[in-house]
């Protein structure tokens, strides 16, 4: 789950390429596809291989894909990926309601929460911006002449507030199912890695309210891990623009090597790592 544009579909596309093509060793290996929208899976993986941006998942067009994966020495397990539009989670935050099908999926014991590391809306204050402008010698508009004031709406809330609310909802009725495993995926980690912080440090620095909630507000029986994941490896082309980064990524002979997963100081190409943890 995750807010719009948090990298859910890209993760799924890269995962499907990774387990189906088997270019690099992974903790989970692919056995077979189950029911679900297989076409969707092929389509998004094809976009990913071509280093092209994914189409946004439309709300109401949520795609369900199930595949059977198997850990070494373990039994095959069915893993279901509902590719839910981020708007469904905005609806939970803003309108306090949840589609019944989505509510059903949110009762699973293993949760992947996606956060785009480079698109975190942080709170900014009027006074700070005003003082900054004054310091820079930029005249501050008189309130009377300023452009139209924007009234409050839930989507203006900082990313961390929306995520805290989402996780609170999952430990309260009607979504509470007791202890769960929560894997937080900081997607587009390539954009954040330059700061030299671990994923935990990055989350604490950029989203202190969420960090406090995870330490003090989340049900202590939940287990949490924070991964830094770059499923793309860089910027992909959109319909209009061709980017040098995308060209560089297409030049890599083994597409799975575009992927990077950072956890507990170790780095790999294995996107199945958080899944394996959720399944054990």
């Amino acid at each position: 789950m995750g807010l719009p544009g948090s990298g859910k579909t890209t993760f799924l596309a890269a995962l499907w390429h990774l387990v189906s093509v088997k270019e690099v060793p992974c903790k989970l290996t692919y056995v077979s596809l189950q029911t679900g929208n297989v076409e969707h899976l092929h389509e998004i993986a094809s976009q990913w291989r071509a280093a092209k941006k994914q189409e946004r998942t439309a709300q109401g067009g949520d795609k369900l894909v199930s595949m059977i994966l198997k850990a070494e020495g373990g039994d095959p397990q069915t893993v279901t990926f509902p590719d839910i539009a981020g708007e469904a989670f905005l609806q939970m935050w803003g309108l306090r309601e949840c589609d019944e099908t989505v509510a059903g999926w949110l009762k699973e014991p293993g949760v992947l929460l996606f956060i785009h590391a480079d698109k975190i809306t942080v709170p900014k204050w009027v006074i700070e911006e005003k003082l900054l402008m004054e310091d820079m010698g930029i005249p501050v508009e008189d309130q009377a002449k300023a452009e139209e004031v924007i009234d409050w709406s839930p989507d203006l809330a900082p990313t961390q507030v929306q995520l805290v609310d989402l996780l609170q909802s999952m430990q309260a009725d009607p979504l509470d199912v007791g202890p769960r495993r929560l894997a937080i995926i900081l997607s587009a980690w390539d954009k954040a890695a330059g700061r030299g912080l671990s994923p935990e440090q990055y989350l604490a620095r950029r989203m202190p309210l969420l960090d406090q909630f995870l330490k003090h507000g989340l049900n202590p029986d939940w287990e949490t891990r924070i991964y830094g994941v770059s499923a793309q490896g860089g910027d992909y082309d959109d319909d209009q623009t061709k980017l040098p980064d995308a060209e560089r990524l297409r030049d890599i002979d083994v597409p799975s090597e575009r992927i990077s997963v950072v956890y507990a100081g170790a780095k790999s190409n294995d996107l199945t790592e958080p899944l394996q943890w959720l399944l054990t």
Partner: protein
């Protein structure tokens, strides 16, 4: 529903009714031919009072989530049953900074711990966000502002907090009520008996508007208002000896920007505190004073300056939880036979 307050700043006039776009399209949603006649036009939107539990509209499509608003007295009581709590009444006339204090504290948690206190969770996130909105850059205001609280039943902002030193994890309820209702208790002290947050408070927090204290024409009236309000609470019998009193000077940033550096205002506040302590201190378990800048509008103070001290005071173990000594007294029996007691063993 009470009338919204007139807008005090120089914001372009618009309608307090969020559904009315008269400022944009010139059409009044309530049908007034010109805006001068409309009671809503040109006023600051107010924080809406949330509907009572069970009256939320049914979800259009699916499963209803818990509301994320302020809590009614009953809802707040339900929270108290689950874990230890701190009930904080925040009283003061309108514009003293009650909602700013609540929003300013919430905003500090956005940045990390406040002193030794960490955020746990909150059932009032929407309400906090609304209270904080007009001080945020996302509102596109050029001067910070705070929506006013409507008249009506008290509503509680909810926070579950963690004292990382003592490991206490209380549920903190911050009472919010329209300032004019508190002010009216001066004329009718008994009306304070209806204010459940006062009776239940562990800390009664009385705000002193720093901006008015700067104003030579208002400062004497302000001090009189604060004194009379506290007197009304005592007279109404809504304060208890287990309560702590916090006397809070607000808008510290504005005071410091005064020509004299705020010296006269600080002295005025100290005099007020000394007088209140002398006259009403015996009604409370403790009296402390604080000087804060919850949501500064100038560079005269840091964002949320001294809120950590105030929060630590709020977080202290409530005295209502502390058991008092029990005096065991055997009632004297009327009949001599009933006064007989067993013979001590060493006498036998």
């Amino acid at each position: 529903m009470a009338d919204p307050e007139p807008q005090e700043d120089a914001a372009p006039p618009r309608c307090a009714n969020p559904d009315c776009q008269v400022a944009v399209d010139g059409r009044c949603i309530e049908g007034f031919p010109n805006t001068a006649e409309c009671p809503q036009f040109g006023r600051i939107p107010t924080i809406p009072v949330a509907p009572a539990p069970g009256t939320y509209p049914a979800p259009r499509n699916g499963v209803a989530m818990e509301a994320s608003t302020t809590l009614s007295v009953d809802e707040a009581d339900h929270v108290v049953k689950k874990r230890p709590s701190r009930v904080i009444a925040i009283a003061g006339p309108q514009s003293a900074g009650k909602t700013s204090l609540i929003a300013g504290l919430y905003d500090l948690f956005q940045l990390g711990r406040v002193g030794n206190v960490a955020f746990g969770q909150s059932f009032s996130l929407h309400a906090f966000e609304q209270a904080a909105h007009y001080s945020r850059a996302a509102s596109r205001r050029t001067t910070p502002n705070t929506p006013r609280t409507e008249r009506g039943e008290v509503r509680f902002y909810h926070l579950e907090l963690v004292d990382t030193d003592s490991s206490a994890t209380p549920s903190v309820r911050l009472g919010d009520r329209a300032g004019e209702e508190y002010l009216e208790t001066r004329s009718n002290p008994l009306s304070a008996q209806e204010f459940l947050e006062l009776r239940r408070a562990d800390v009664l927090t009385l705000l002193v508007d720093g901006e008015r204290l700067l104003d030579a024409g208002q400062r004497h009236n302000l001090r009189s208002e604060v004194r009379q309000t506290l007197h009304a609470f005592v007279e109404a019998g809504v304060v208890r000896p287990t309560q702590r009193l916090a006397l809070v000077l607000t808008k510290l940033d504005v005071i410091r920007k005064a020509a004299d550096g705020g010296e006269r205002s600080f002295q005025g506040f100290d005099t007020l505190v000394a007088g209140l302590r002398a006259d009403y201190g015996s009604n409370f378990a403790a009296v402390e004073s604080f000087q804060i800048a919850a949501q500064p509008s100038t560079d005269g103070a840091k964002h949320g300056e001294n809120l950590d001290r105030l929060l630590a005071y709020w977080m202290a173990e409530p005295l209502r939880y502390r058991p008092g000594p029990m005096v065991f007294q055997v009632p004297e029996a009327e009949r001599y036979f009933d006064r007989l007691t067993p013979v001590p063993k060493d006498v036998q």
